[in-house]
């Protein structure tokens, strides 16, 4: 499937962008992005506010469509994917949203269980996986509380738990340490490294230099919608 890749395709390609542009009100949020991320990579996406980091993650996740170019995620052309196929793509991905996106009327456990719930995982499996994810981010003691009663840092960790609960093939994280103190930030980065070591491809958008220093991985730099350094 897709374009130009038949024989000789490297086995390990996870994400690929060809000349991708995205406009909001005719102003480019991303312009002519070309990018290749291999299976198992841990990539940092850096750049000033408004550079287009969130936009790029949204394109990969299928919540926005590019105005130009092609996007391949796990060899599926996200730009052309049928609406009915998108849920199944998302089930293989985890995403940490910059604005958390937690359900205010459900408690922490239920929020983290949601990705499993929508695909009909058994009650037993849900309990096991949710507990494991909550422990990994260190908020399992808050599992019966509603998000509003949690600190921003705790909400962020709940959001991370929800993103990893499904053992995703790709983890996309948008400022996952934005509300965490240096100590918690470094714990989360260590957690991501562990997850990455198990084979999950990770892309983290951040402008936190601490994260960059600690992760010590490939860095993509965006500025005003352009990829300026790789």
């Amino acid at each position: 499937m897709g374009i130009g890749y038949t024989a000789g395709k490297p086995a390990g390609i996870m994400i690929q962008l060809f000349h991708v542009s995205k406009y909001y009100d005719r102003r480019p949020a991303l312009s002519d992005i070309n990018l290749l991320i291999e299976k198992g990579e841990f990539v940092l996406l850096m750049g000033p506010s408004g550079a287009g980091k969130t936009t790029l993650l949204k394109l990969l996740f299928g919540t926005e469509r590019p105005d130009d170019g092609q996007i391949l995620v796990q060899n599926r052309n996200v730009a052309r994917l049928r609406a009915s196929a998108i849920p199944y793509l998302r089930r293989t991905m985890g995403i940490v949203f910059q604005d958390f996106r937690l359900l205010p009327k459900k408690n922490v456990f239920e929020n983290v269980a949601l990705p499993l719930m929508v695909q009909g995982t058994s009650t037993f499996e849900i309990r096991r996986k949710v507990t494991e994810a909550l422990k990994a981010v260190g908020v399992d003691h808050k599992k019966d509380q509603r998000p509003a009663t949690l600190s921003a840092g705790e909400q962020q960790r709940v959001c991370i738990a929800r993103a990893i609960v499904n053992s995703p093939i790709i983890l996309l994280a948008d400022e996952p340490t934005g509300n965490l103190d240096p100590h918690l930030s470094s714990e989360i980065i260590e957690l991501f490294k562990v997850i990455n070591a198990r084979g999950t491809t990770i892309m983290v958008a951040t402008h936190n230099p601490q994260v960059m220093a600690q992760a010590n991985r490939r860095v993509l730099r965006l500025d005003q919608g352009k990829l300026v350094a790789d």
């Binding site: 998302r90 996106r101 719930m117 849900i126």
Partner: protein, 299 residues
């Protein structure tokens, strides 16, 4: 299992969230179905009356006074051979006189004054079911008058025919009222569901983000609509039952005297279920309409 429990719980939460609009939606469905139900009650009851009257249609074939014994048995054979005839009974002149005496004892002396028995002998025919339509009766009666020995053929059909016309109008009315009000109640349910959808727009978005399919997201709203509709249907049955009993009470002794009461029947069980089912379908359709609109708006 957990998924189903989740969906049911969601739809119940929706119903609790906007109690007022839910009540309006249920009430409007109940009103729609009650109006329709009034027509249906009228229709079913009148149709029952007509068919019991039609069972009763008797054709009286009066015979010429001078008919010989041979002529009489020929005619009887001939009538028996007709497809239209279900039962055939002979009433002799003497029998006719005796019947008259029994039915109108005070008038009997009038006949006595005439000396000779003036009442003709007759055959009383009841019709086979498929020849009970007024047109068939008319055709057949016409043919009977041409048979040897037949003086006159009598049957009463005019008012039965009129009743059939009335029933036709009621049928039309039920369809008209039913479809107009159904459209109204689908619209009202649709806007109720739309309110829920708008209130929960963020939640729906999050469900999408974590990989919920369109069907999974829609089910609670369809369920909500169906429940509202079915409850409306149930309520309409209660209203109709109340109205029906009140009507019967109003008729009181007059009704009993006219024998109307025994004709009046409430819906049999399967029709009641059908009305609840109709409510459910209205509610489901209303949901579907608003989901389609919502899907277009958010796409």
């Amino acid at each position: 299992m957990r998924r189903i429990a989740y969906l049911v719980k969601e739809s119940m939460t929706n119903i609790r969230l906007n109690r007022t609009t839910t009540l309006v939606a249920v009430a409007s469905t109940a009103f729609t179905l009650a109006c329709f139900g009034v027509f249906l009650l009228l229709y079913l009851n009148l149709r029952g009356v007509v068919s019991s009257l039609q069972d009763d249609i008797k054709i009286v074939v009066y015979l010429h006074d001078g008919l010989s014994g041979q002529g009489l048995s020929d005619l009887q054979q001939r009538l028996k051979g007709e497809r239209e005839v279900a039962t055939l009974s002979y009433v002799s002149k003497e029998q006719a006189l005796a019947d008259f005496r029994e039915q109108f004892p005070s008038e009997y002396h009038l006949l006595q004054g005439l000396g000779e028995n003036p009442l003709p002998a007759s055959f009383v025919v009841t019709l086979a079911p498929r020849f009970r339509s007024s047109e068939a009766v008319r055709q057949w009666a016409k043919r009977l008058t041409t048979m040897a020995g037949v003086a006159q053929v009598q049957y009463s059909r005019d008012w039965i025919e009129n009743l059939a016309t009335v029933i036709g109008f009621i049928e039309l009315g039920a369809v008209a009222v039913g479809s107009i009000l159904s459209a109204a109640s689908v619209t009202i349910i649709a806007s109720t569901i739309r309110l829920t959808l708008l209130a929960r727009r963020d939640e729906i978005e999050i469900l999408r983000l974590v990989g919920a399919t369109g069907a999974f997201i829609k089910v609670p709203y369809l369920l909500e609509g169906a429940v509202l509709g079915a409850v409306g249907g149930l309520l309409s049955l209660a209203i109709l039952r109340g109205g029906f009993d009140l009507f019967k009470l109003q008729l009181g002794p007059t009704g009993r005297f006219l024998g109307v009461e025994s004709w009046l029947n409430f819906f049999p069980g399967h029709v009641s279920l059908l009305i609840i089912g109709a409510g459910l379908a209205l509610g489901f359709t209303g949901s579907l309409v608003s989901l389609i609109q919502f899907g277009r708006a958010s796409a």
